[in-house]
Subunit: 354 residues, 2 copies
Amino acid sequence: MTSKLNIAIVGATGVVGSIMRELLAAEREKWGEIRLIASPRSAGKVLNVGDEEITVQAMSPEVFEGIDIAHFDLPDEVSAEWVPVAAEKGAIVIDKSAHFRMEDDVPLVAPEANPEDVRNRPRNIIANANCTTLTLIPSIAPLHREFGLASMSVASYQAASGGGKAGLEALYEQVNKTTPADGLGTKPGDVREALGEEANEAFGAPLAWNVVPKVGGWRDGGWTSEELKVRNESRKMLGHPTLKVASTCVRVPVAIGHAQAVHATFENDVTVEQARAVLEKAEGVTVVDDPGNNVYPTSIDSAGISGTQVGRLRQSVDFPNSLEFFTVGDNLIKGAAENSMQVAELLRKELTES
Amino acid sequence: MTSKLNIAIVGATGVVGSIMRELLAAEREKWGEIRLIASPRSAGKVLNVGDEEITVQAMSPEVFEGIDIAHFDLPDEVSAEWVPVAAEKGAIVIDKSAHFRMEDDVPLVAPEANPEDVRNRPRNIIANANCTTLTLIPSIAPLHREFGLASMSVASYQAASGGGKAGLEALYEQVNKTTPADGLGTKPGDVREALGEEANEAFGAPLAWNVVPKVGGWRDGGWTSEELKVRNESRKMLGHPTLKVASTCVRVPVAIGHAQAVHATFENDVTVEQARAVLEKAEGVTVVDDPGNNVYPTSIDSAGISGTQVGRLRQSVDFPNSLEFFTVGDNLIKGAAENSMQVAELLRKELTES
Ligand SMILES: NC(=O)c1ccc[n+]([C@@H]2O[C@H](COP(=O)([O-])OP(=O)(O)OC[C@H]3O[C@@H](n4cnc5c(N)ncnc54)[C@H](OP(=O)(O)O)[C@@H]3O)[C@@H](O)[C@H]2O)c1
Ligand SMILES: NC(=O)c1ccc[n+]([C@@H]2O[C@H](COP(=O)([O-])OP(=O)(O)OC[C@H]3O[C@@H](n4cnc5c(N)ncnc54)[C@H](OP(=O)(O)O)[C@@H]3O)[C@@H](O)[C@H]2O)c1
């Protein structure tokens, strides 16, 4: 087969959908038709993919006619309903929602960990992991391959845009309201009063000037859905069902860029020098680690950048076979859009170069 | 002895010194004369302790004449020079700098962990731990007493005011410059450009819209001084020289309130119910933990509040004898001023009620 594959971006108006359009524009010549899909609210809007102007179509079964690969960038419950419809119409769906990720007959793929799983897709559905796990995988997967990961304790520093367009706008609005241009800022103790009850809507508590140790919904035992995703999705992508994971997920007043502090213990001996050598060769990882010159990863420096950045690499003082490190990645790029573009590229090679 | 003890606040113009004045005002009747001391820059300024107006005096040996307890709230190198001077003049010094904390003949005291060590002060010096460790101790100490702490992995979310007055003002200024009142905000990738090189001064990197995984100075092996303090000062206050600690310290764009995500493993069996019962009875801890009603600790809710707040308590899924929890505390109150007021109260009882 030599003809180009036709692509749909479903949820093209969202924050992830916008990055999808940018990434597609950069490799436009690889693909056939590009169709943009969103809710009926957005139908008729004209959006760009590079120079190309494309009219957004409302979701319907017919809109998937002739599509080879459909990137789904929708809320969970909308994906749950429409992914099977698109798959039945013959599209291979790469879905970013949480709905299908842990199903046995749906592969969950990060090309840095398990690219081979793309070929095993009995339902025509491939799932993309959550943004926190995806920004951790490029560093933890090659370390696991080399040294055998036994356990990890992970604390996250997650950006507002992880909560979609609504989340990003809520943070900007909250900071605006509590940061008078002519003065300093609202006193910490008065932030709740200044913002009122509605500031709890986006994140559970005001996010301006705050950290909020709750991402996602509540699950049994006081866990959040995000914390369990970090554990379960890491295990699935690493093919390591007995991996021990402790995870705390926290929202911080950052626009874009998920960061994570990682304490990792391996089956085998590992030194910082060995780990650095592995990470320097790893796909999707840039080592940013030169304390003497004040060089380390930060959230703002990950925004708009491909892959992930890793630094603050150090040998655990009190734990054998263990490392500490800090990783950041753009939650909308490697945490979402870029990963599904990488999966699409694996499909393109399989389907057009065989 | 029945006469009241005379108190000096050395560094009375700083952010910690200001909270010291507030806390002293609330129990003014307990103490004798209150003397306020700062650099020659501040000499002659009039500051309040409650209704009382007190003129700030410049640092000198003579200024400690007749002082019983001197609270030192100064930069490390100034404390290093002046603490011995005050101690020699007969004052018992409670020092908040890092300089004396790890010396063998200086007790490092948090009343929730080791109040008895106050009595053993051969040099007339008692040290106060750093703010990160002090906001962790009220929860970890009683859990250690009950279940025997074996190891902990801690990631911090530290406020700008941990960097003093200069840090707090730097954050407010950076957020102001990147948050136009009429628009949204500076794009994450453009924050460095908008703020220029001088935004690196306070924290190493811009803090507005960012997280910065560097608190304190660089040490061997890529560690920061703050991360080693969390380990070494916890060990000293808990009297547990073999405690295993993994620590990553991170600055976040929060004005006041240090938070920590804690993964703790104990020698003995522990359930969430047992741990909650211990924490509910613990001094300096308020359990704020009711996920169903969206109740958990956040940084802004700790600002201006005594003690620490603990929540998100849960049983580790994959680790035996282990718990996860999240703790917050005002870094200027329990993290600094309140702890030294508690130590002063122990001294007051010892010296005036015997
Ligand atoms: N944000 C992240 O960091 C991130 C990272 C990884 C994965 N994800 C996942 O990616 C997905 C999209 O997230 P996002 O952050 O881009 O959200 P978002 O900004 O809120 O965008 C949601 C998109 O879904 C569309 N949509 C909503 N209801 C629809 C319906 N009934 N029919 C058709 N389209 C509908 C919206 O179209 P309208 O504009 O027409 O309403 C919009 O295009 C979610 O599953 C999320 O969990 C997000
Ligand atoms: N901020 C926290 O969260 C925190 C928590 C725990 C411990 N600490 C420790 O507490 C101490 C004070 O911190 P801070 O945050 O309050 O700092 P700060 O806001 O910068 O205040 C520094 C104080 O030191 C005084 N000072 C500076 N140089 C002096 C000199 N040569 N002689 C006399 N006084 C001098 C200043 O007086 P002028 O105004 O006259 O310059 C000011 O009162 C530090 O050791 C810090 O590590 C701070």
